[in-house]
Amino acid sequence: MNKRIVKTLMIVSLSISGLLLVLNLQSVTIALATIGNEPEVNDSTFRVMKSNAEKELTSLDKKLKANMPKTNYLVVNSTMNEFYLYKGDELIKKDMCSTGSYVLLKKSEKEKWMFKTPKGEFRILNKTKDPVWKKPDWAFVEEGLPVPSYNHPSRFEYGVLGDYSLSLGDGYLIHGTLFQRFLGLPVTHGCIRLNDENLELVYKSMPMGAKVYIF
């Protein structure tokens, strides 16, 4: 009886170890294939090598830090509709904004507009107080209105962009909005909308040429 139990136990333990080996086959192979250490060197050589490595690391850190903008900069998260205003490593302000709606407006196969905020690194190219919005063609097409001539008075709207605007180029602006309840939502035509208080802060703390990172 005892022999039978021992035999059964042996078969069971062998089966379990076989199964474990199969299940962890790759881990076992990896462990066996990666045995071995890097070569050892004597103490003085090691100290010299360590000091050289530390120097190289410091130099690389300096090079990386050189990429940090010298002035305040703005980061815009177009997925979460948030902005982060930085001064070096320090976060000065984080709050809601509104970015592009990703609407593809189609008038015809040839005439279509995509309302998305571009991603990448930009600079403040121009700063305006009391900006006037010159409505582009899509603003009329979107509302089912006929498109007027280039300088028609109906193209000019006063007060809709808030007290300030900062230009990023290609018609993209950071500006205010009359529809503050939509802040935090993707509702714009590609521009970045802020509330009045944040717009003033950004306008006053970002000099011309300051960097804006949009992702």
Binding site: Q26, T29, T34, V103, L104, K116, G184, Y213
Partner: protein, 270 residues
């Protein structure tokens, strides 16, 4: 005698008579399955060795350090900083995984612009046990993403036909709703065969659990089909070391949508 014992014995008797009747074919089938099992085991076991060999055979840059015992931590930091400095300078957004920091960041022109704290990380055993030379060949430079798949779209485009009249426009005006995040699971396959999985932290809803199961089931099916193909075609099976990262859905969505189609990835671990 209880019924289940009698039925069990009947089954055993039927099996015994079947085996006696078709002994040779049964042994032949068992042998075929045995050989297939052994071949599968061989392919599974040899795959990581072949990957390691491939990485070992890659040329190390001229300016690589001398690899000695005890300097691994410093040398890995140097490799990381070099890889960061080698990232593209042309407005391209890149992904940086810093394991000691438990963070995943977006980099643009050498600047970290967004950092996500990871809730969970799992690193492949091959990567954990990698020697310094192989580490340097793989991770001292940015790695290109060769292909990717995800449960979310890259750009959530909404197509709208322009209204013909102002009345039509007024009738179509709708209030924008709050932001909706779909279950987020992302797989990035890097140029050296490494697979990076970014998976959302939230899994309390049934919909979330189903999306996760479907995403990873298809991954497992692909791995199995690759093993079966390698067994039947006598070709080597590619081992793909995996890194599994968990973070909140909204933050992973932000990261995925920020990256270009074929972004560069920098990985650092100790």
């Amino acid at each position: 005698m209880p019924k289940f014992i009698s039925s069990k014995m009947e089954v055993f008797a039927t099996l015994k008579s079947f085996f006696q009747r078709y002994r040779k074919p049964v042994i032949a089938v068992a042998c075929v399955f045995g050989v297939l099992l052994l071949l599968s085991m061989f392919h599974l076991a040899s795959a990581p060795i072949l990957k390691l060999k491939e990485w070992r055979n890659q040329d190390v840059e001229m300016e690589s350090p001398e690899f000695v015992n005890g300097l691994d931590s410093l040398q890995r930091q140097i490799a990381f900083k070099k890889a960061l400095l080698a990232l593209p300078k042309k407005d391209s957004i890149s992904l940086v995984l810093n394991v000691p920091d438990s963070s995943l960041s977006l980099f643009i022109n050498g600047m970290s612009i967004y950092k996500v704290q990871l809730a969970e990380m799992q690193i492949d055993p091959l990567l954990k046990r990698l020697g310094e030379r192989e580490y340097w060949t793989q991770f001292s430079k940015p790695l290109r993403v060769d292909s990717s798949r995800a449960t979310i779209v890259k750009e959530p485009i909404i197509e709208k036909t322009a209204p013909k009249t102002q009345e039509e426009f007024l009738a179509s005006v709708s209030q924008p709703d709050s932001l909706v995040y779909e279950p987020t699971h992302i797989q990035l396959i890097l140029e050296n065969g490494l697979e990076l999985f970014l998976s959302q932290e939230e899994n309390s809803k049934k919909l979330d659990r189903r999306a996760k199961r479907q995403f990873f089931d298809s991954q497992r099916t692909n791995a199995l089909s690759s093993l079966v193909t390698s067994v039947f075609t006598f070709e080597t099976m590619e081992y793909r070391p995996q890194i599994y990262l968990v973070a909140p859905s909204a933050e992973l969505t932000s990261i995925y949508r920020a990256l270009p189609e074929q972004p560069k990835v920098v990985i650092y671990y100790n």
